[in-house]
Amino acid sequence: MAGVASSSRQRSKIAPYLMILPALVYLGIFFVVPFFSLARTSLSSMGGSVYLPTLTFNWDFSNYLDAFSHYQDQIIRTFTYALVATLLCLLLAFPLAYVIAFKAGRYKNLILGLVILPFFVTFLIRTIAWKTILADDGWVVAALGSVGLLPSEGRLLSTSWAVIGGLTYNWIIFMILPLYVSLEKIDPRLIEASKDLYSTNRRSFTKVILPLSMPGVLAGSLLVFIPASGDFINADYLGSTQTTMIGNVIQKQFLVVKDYPAAAALSMVLMAIILVGVLLYTRALGTEDLV
């Protein structure tokens, strides 16, 4: 009997490692190693002919200097757009998440389903639809023009606001869901207790609801900010040459110009800036709360 017990204990010591091994090996090869390839490429020089380019790894840091000097505008624009989009997502998502969590009653699941539903349409097709909505001859431009919010000849499409609007729309779901999850966890009795203790509605909100929804706010902002700062579709479809983001440059350099070292260096810069932001955030909230 003792032998059986010890052998099963032995097995359970290796078992977890056997279970995590396939996933970790896979992610090691196809998630971690690619970043080394990317780093290596970013420090290489292009040589050879246009038809047969060769990459030589020679610690060529000039790619990084070029990335900053050539694309400074795009870098600043990218993080400004992503930040504004994140704030807009928070502003729009909070009332909706709040109503679903506290006011929806038995229609909670139905409304949650409705919130998720639009995201079953391919992201690109949704963005094309915004192109139609914001078009110069569309009804939105006409309506805004007639109430004087938009000057005649004024445009929505191809402006910064169109790009920011697209970023907001495409990732707002990642703000609504974590916000809803953290609001839903709040015990309504806590809010009642604050009311019983003569708190005003505003004070109940700022002292009880808002602090308890912080994990959702932080997780949601990360889940919006990161993909928004790496996106190039919204800038491509809804913007103009004046609204290009880092993603547009990386995409073009990699797949059209094929200047791999420059594109890789710019990818590393984007990743580094985001990583610093994420580290500062996770310090405050811990990864468990992120999902």
């Binding site: 359970s12 078992a15 279970m19 995590i20 396939p22 996933a23 970790l24 896979y26 992610l27 196809f30 998630f31 690619p34 390839s37 490429t41 990459l55 009332p95 909706l96 709040y98 109503v99 506290f102 006011k103 929806a104 139905l110 409304i111 389903g113 409705l114 539903l117 639009p118 079953f120 349409v121 391919t122 992201f123 690109l124 097709i125 094309i128 639809a129 915004w130 139609t132 909505i133 729309y169 509605n201 990161i226 700062s229 790496g230 996106d231 190039f232 579709i233 479809y237 993603g247 995409q251 990699f254 890789a264 990818s267 984007l270 990743m271 985001i274 994420v278 990864t287 468990e288 999902v291």
Partner: protein
């Protein structure tokens, strides 16, 4: 549909917080309703324009009503092929990722081992890296290895980002389960394998199905990473992107609407099924 749902919301009380002034409550509900409407605005446009009769190459402005597009949804073989290929890639990559991700999730929830927290943190990384960087990094790997990009590299890339999503979804669903059921099974003489297949697996299957559906949807919708590692292979989102540059047939809207309706039906069936189970 949405306005009706919102109107009905107003008549229910169960978890309503007491003491808020009526007008504040009303404004909040109106704002929430408007946000919901905003979420659906492009969807209305997509459905409406599936009935459009475009004159030129692009389906951007309303020209007139027709049922013609719906009568010939598969008029463009390239579009249909791209959709079929995307479904194929989503199915294959999800099958692989479900296997890896579920094993990982079970180990994380059920086992105590050294390095568990490190694995936990590591899993978040693919979700917190911008897609454009993941795509670029994979492309540099494939260039270094000298692999031609195409179907295989797309599947490889999709599995890589799906594993984390699946592991996290399954893990989240496994929290709060009554694991003493496993002990009960062992006490009643079932071996570890029998316990796994008869007790553990049935408990976690709903979580695995939810994770697989999410993974399938993510794969079907992925554009950015796929764009980098696709070579000349054309998936559904890649077809749509090429169409934006050249010509947008209304069949794109028809198929998008069809996918939406199917999702809506699945959602409705799921909700009814759940409600029925609770009632019993």
């Amino acid at each position: 549909m949405t306005t009706q749902a919102m109107a009905e919301v107003g008549t229910t009380e169960p978890t309503t917080i007491k003491g808020s002034p009526k007008w504040g409550d009303l404004i909040l509900r109106i704002v929430a309703g408007l946000v919901l409407l905003y979420l659906f605005l492009p969807i209305f446009v997509i459905v409406l324009f599936s009935f459009n009769h475009p004159q030129g190459k692009f389906n951007y402005s309303w020209q007139g009503f027709t049922l013609n597009n719906w009568a010939h949804p598969f008029k463009y073989p390239a579009l249909t092929d791209a959709l079929k290929l995307s479904i194929n890639i989503a199915a294959v990559s999800t099958a692989i990722a479900v296997l890896f991700g579920t094993l990982l999730a079970i180990a994380l929830v059920r086992q105590r081992f050294r390095g568990r927290t490190a694995v936990d943190t590591f899993l978040v990384l693919p979700l917190t890296s911008p897609e454009v960087v993941i795509g670029a990094a994979l492309l540099t790997l494939f260039l270094d290895l000298g692999w031609a990009t195409g179907y295989t590299t797309i599947v490889i890339a999709h599995v890589a980002f799906e594993i984390s999503f699946i592991a996290m979804t399954v893990r989240a669903r496994m929290r709060g389960f009554d694991w003493t059921l496993e002990d009960a099974s062992m006490d009643l003489g079932a071996g570890p394998a029998r316990t796994f297949f008869k007790v553990t697996l049935p408990l976690i299957v709903p979580g695995i199905i939810a994770a697989a559906m999410l993974s399938f949807a993510l794969s079907l919708d992925d554009f950015i990473i796929t764009y980098f590692v696709s070579g000349s292979t054309v998936t559904y989102p890649l077809y749509v992107n090429a169409a934006v540059k050249a010509a947008v047939p209304p069949q794109i809207n028809v198929l998008a609407t069809a996918i939406l309706v199917i999702s809506l039906l699945l959602l409705a069936v799921g909700t009814l099924y759940r409600r029925k189970r609770i009632d019993v």
